[in-house]
């Protein structure tokens, strides 16, 4: 390993990145831009429920019931329907989330001490949203029932209070939990750029020039890693600024610790892309492989939206993805204020993945043409 040769490779790669304005934009600013777009969408994630009402009772009490549900503004009546056959079109056209059927004799049953059976028909196609809708409407219905004061006749004995707290994200806002998670996904971009840089030289033939130079494998790979790692670190800082200043996501940890842990992730993700690049000869295949084995799984099964599934195979695969560990790290540093000591486990796994992957790519490196 010779430092001057290494620096020469770094300088060459930097020139590659900075010469091409579009690439410079894509590896430094684009991640921050993406975070703005994606997070903006999440900041409007409200608990609004659109309901359609089929009131068979038509009493002042049933109307009062509907009015009380909509009083908070979170439940909106989008349609009143007459027959059951009108339910399905409301769902297929995505007009209502829930159809509320108030039966004949509703008012009599409520005034007689209940229970009056009210039917809620829900569109289950969006499984996550439907679950939230049910819980929300149930709580509204229960609140109205409780406000009538009738059930208190037989409650009181054996009753039980529950106080619920949501830690780290007190209002359970998805923006707060998604922004740190999205950072991990978006920071796949520098790794993708590196894989393309590695395969491009082989594809366009400029690799011959590299072969002709006295540069060694380790210097060549490390030089590329440093150049793209540095541009990736710029994106880390930019995305952090967007998250904290623009979206006001609480940042309870320490900034230097975050940068160090992010660099750890970049080493791991770049290691994965270097291994992939060592197996392929053109950029199209490299891109395809990275999308399939790294990026799309990161999106769906690394715990970004749903928690990692409770199945051994799913756990093993998620464990092998660098993104899973960095999503944990990001959320812990941002929201829980943890430092590198508490996060030693995911940090060491990332470092392990990074070092192992880089060792593999170094072994596979050859200065030959095929």
């Amino acid at each position: 390993m010779s430092i001057p040769r290494l620096l020469a490779v770094v300088r060459k790669e930097f020139r590659h990145i900075t010469r091409d304005v579009r690439i410079l934009f894509l590896v430094t600013i684009a991640p921050a831009f993406l975070l703005v777009t994606l997070s903006y969408v999440f900041s409007f994630d409200v608990n609004r429920v659109d309901i359609a009402v089929r009131d068979l009772d038509r009493t002042s009490l049933s109307r009062e019931f509907v009015a009380s549900l909509t009083a908070g503004g979170d439940v909106v009546v989008v349609a009143y329907i007459q027959g059951d056959e009108e339910t399905e079109p409301l769902f297929t056209r995505d007009i209502a989330d829930l159809v509320l059927v108030i039966p004949h004799g509703f008012a009599d049953a409520v005034l007689g001490g209940g229970p009056a059976e009210v039917q809620g028909i829900i569109d289950g196609a969006d499984a996550i949203g439907a679950g939230q809708t049910i819980r929300f409407v149930e709580s509204q219905v229960d609140a109205w029932g409780a406000s009538l004061g009738i059930h208190r006749l037989d409650a009181g004995v054996g009753s039980l209070d529950v106080s619920s707290l949501a830690w780290y994200n007190e209002t359970l806002k998805s923006l707060v939990s998604m922004v740190p998670g999205m950072i991990a996904i978006i920071l796949c971009m520098p790794a993708l750029a590196l894989a393309l840089a590695l395969t491009r030289e082989r594809e366009t033939g400029s690799y011959e020039n590299v072969i002709a130079t006295p540069v060694r494998g380790a210097e060549y790979l490390l030089g590329k890693l440093l150049a793209y790692g540095a541009s990736g670190t710029v994106s880390v800082v930019l995305t952090w600024l967007v998250a904290t200043l623009w979206f006001r996501v609480p940042f309870r940890g320490s900034f230097p610790a975050f940068v160090v842990l992010a660099a750890d992730y970049i080493i791991a993700s770049m290691g994965v892309s270097m291994v992939i690049a060592s197996f392929v000869r053109n950029q199209q295949t490299a891109m395809f492989l990275i999308l399939v084995v790294f990026f799309v799984p990161s999106f769906f099964i690394a715990g970004l939206i749903l928690p990692v599934a409770d199945e051994p195979v799913a756990r093993a695969i998620a464990y092998g993805l660098p993104t899973t560990h960095f999503i944990t790290i990001c959320r812990s540093v941002f929201l829980k204020g943890l430092g590198p000591v508490a996060l030693w486990e995911p940090a060491c796994i990332l470092l392990g993945i990074g070092l192992a992957a880089q060792a593999v790519s170094l072994v596979r490196f050859d200065k030959k043409l095929h």
Partner: protein
């Protein structure tokens, strides 16, 4: 004209098949990926780890723990001894929820004048699992209270009993929701990648000049480049649809031919986008990174993560310009809800319109960048 196009298609296919590694990847990896994703998405959120700090150690508190454990989404896994331990479990993400049962819980329950307080603390750093865990625990406590009241011959009932029934997906199976989205996302990725790289690669390798000097019109060049990508997209779609329906039992309630035709339309539009990117990008690296940016933006507005219906008007307008958003409504509508063209025509029309616009811009832009 047809002959010239078919010659170009032949050339593209030869080039693709020559790179056998890429061909194998393109045809097999999307299906493998779908299997991997679908299998690992799990059909529901289950067994979120719960830490119970039981300060009472009575049979009543143990009954409450059993009620928690009986919930599908929860699993009582840790029994820390101190408050500090429970905090550590939450901090490290080992427990998704902490339940604190106060001392004298059983005694307070038996005493009419007192109401014991059970504390639930959820880790909301993941808002989805946080709210699911909290909802599950609240349900378990309610069940426990109702059982207790029933045991004592009391009927603690609310005046209104909300019975819910679920259409299209009665068990709230997440796979029904995620698999159609994953199928859509994968074909989107594959076709966009293949289409966007096509011309950028020719330019980077210098073979574009040879194409330009051939007696091919611009539109023929575009069609010739588009057909192989279309074939790949459609082939992938059929393979993945088969896996979704036969392996993962996602219902196919609507018309297969309608879904096929609309998929064909969607793939064509995405290829238009690809060719547009191809014309803008100078190198494959640029093209690929642009595809990546576009894919992330499209994913955000697609309706998979956030419900578009509830977004402000400006963002809804942006979402309506994204074909993937409409396609997601289409594939979900046809597969899960059995919707026909009478319901889905606005989406189909939107995709068609966007497609015409994008293709027009792509062809114009391309002629300029080729000259």
């Amino acid at each position: 004209m047809l002959l010239r196009i078919s010659n170009l298609v032949l050339k593209e296919l030869t080039q693709l098949l020559r790179d056998w590694l890429m061909t194998t990847f393109i045809l097999t990896l999307p299906v493998l990926q779908l299997v991997l994703l679908a299998y690992n998405t799990g059909s529901r959120i289950s067994n979120l780890p719960v830490a119970v700090l039981d300060l009472d150690h009575s049979s009543a508190s143990r009954q409450l723990v059993t009620a928690l454990d009986n919930r599908r989404e929860l699993k009582a896994r840790y029994f820390p001894a101190t408050l500090a331990d429970t905090h550590r479990l939450l901090d490290h993400g080992d427990a998704a929820l902490v339940v604190i049962i106060p001392n004298a819980f059983a005694a307070d329950l038996a005493d009419v004048s007192r109401t014991p307080n059970v504390q639930l603390i959820t880790d909301a750093s993941n808002s989805v699992s946080g709210s699911v865990a909290l909802g599950g625990a609240q349900g378990a406590v309610a069940t426990f209270a109702a059982n207790l009241a029933a045991e004592r011959g009391l009927v603690a009932r609310l005046p209104i009993d909300l019975r819910t029934s679920v259409r299209f997906n009665p068990t709230f199976n997440f796979r029904y929701f995620s698999i159609p989205a994953q199928v859509g996302f994968i074909i989107y990725q594959v076709t966009l990648t293949v289409a966007s790289i096509g011309l950028a690669r020719e330019r980077e390798l210098g073979t574009l000049e040879q194409l330009i000097v051939m007696p091919l019109r611009r539109i023929e060049l575009v069609i010739g480049k588009a057909i192989p990508a279309l074939l790949i997209g459609v082939l992938n779609f059929l393979l993945m649809l088969a896996v979704a329906v036969f392996v993962f039992q996602v219902p196919m309630r609507g018309s297969l031919s309608l879904l096929f035709l609309l998929t064909l339309l969607f793939v064509t539009v995405e290829i238009g986008y690809g060719i547009l990117i191809s014309g803008i990008a100078r190198t494959q690296q640029q093209a690929i990174l642009l595809v990546f940016v576009l894919a992330m933006v499209d994913m955000a507005f697609s309706g998979y993560m956030v419900r578009v219906k509830h977004l402000p008007a400006v963002l809804q307008a942006i979402a309506n310009m994204i074909p993937f958003h409409h396609y997601l409504t289409i594939i979900r509508g046809v597969m899960l809800k059995g919707a026909g063209l009478d319901v889905l025509w606005p989406q189909a029309a939107a995709v068609l319109l966007i497609g015409l616009l994008v293709t027009a811009v792509a062809v114009r832009n391309l002629s300029r960048s080729l000259d």
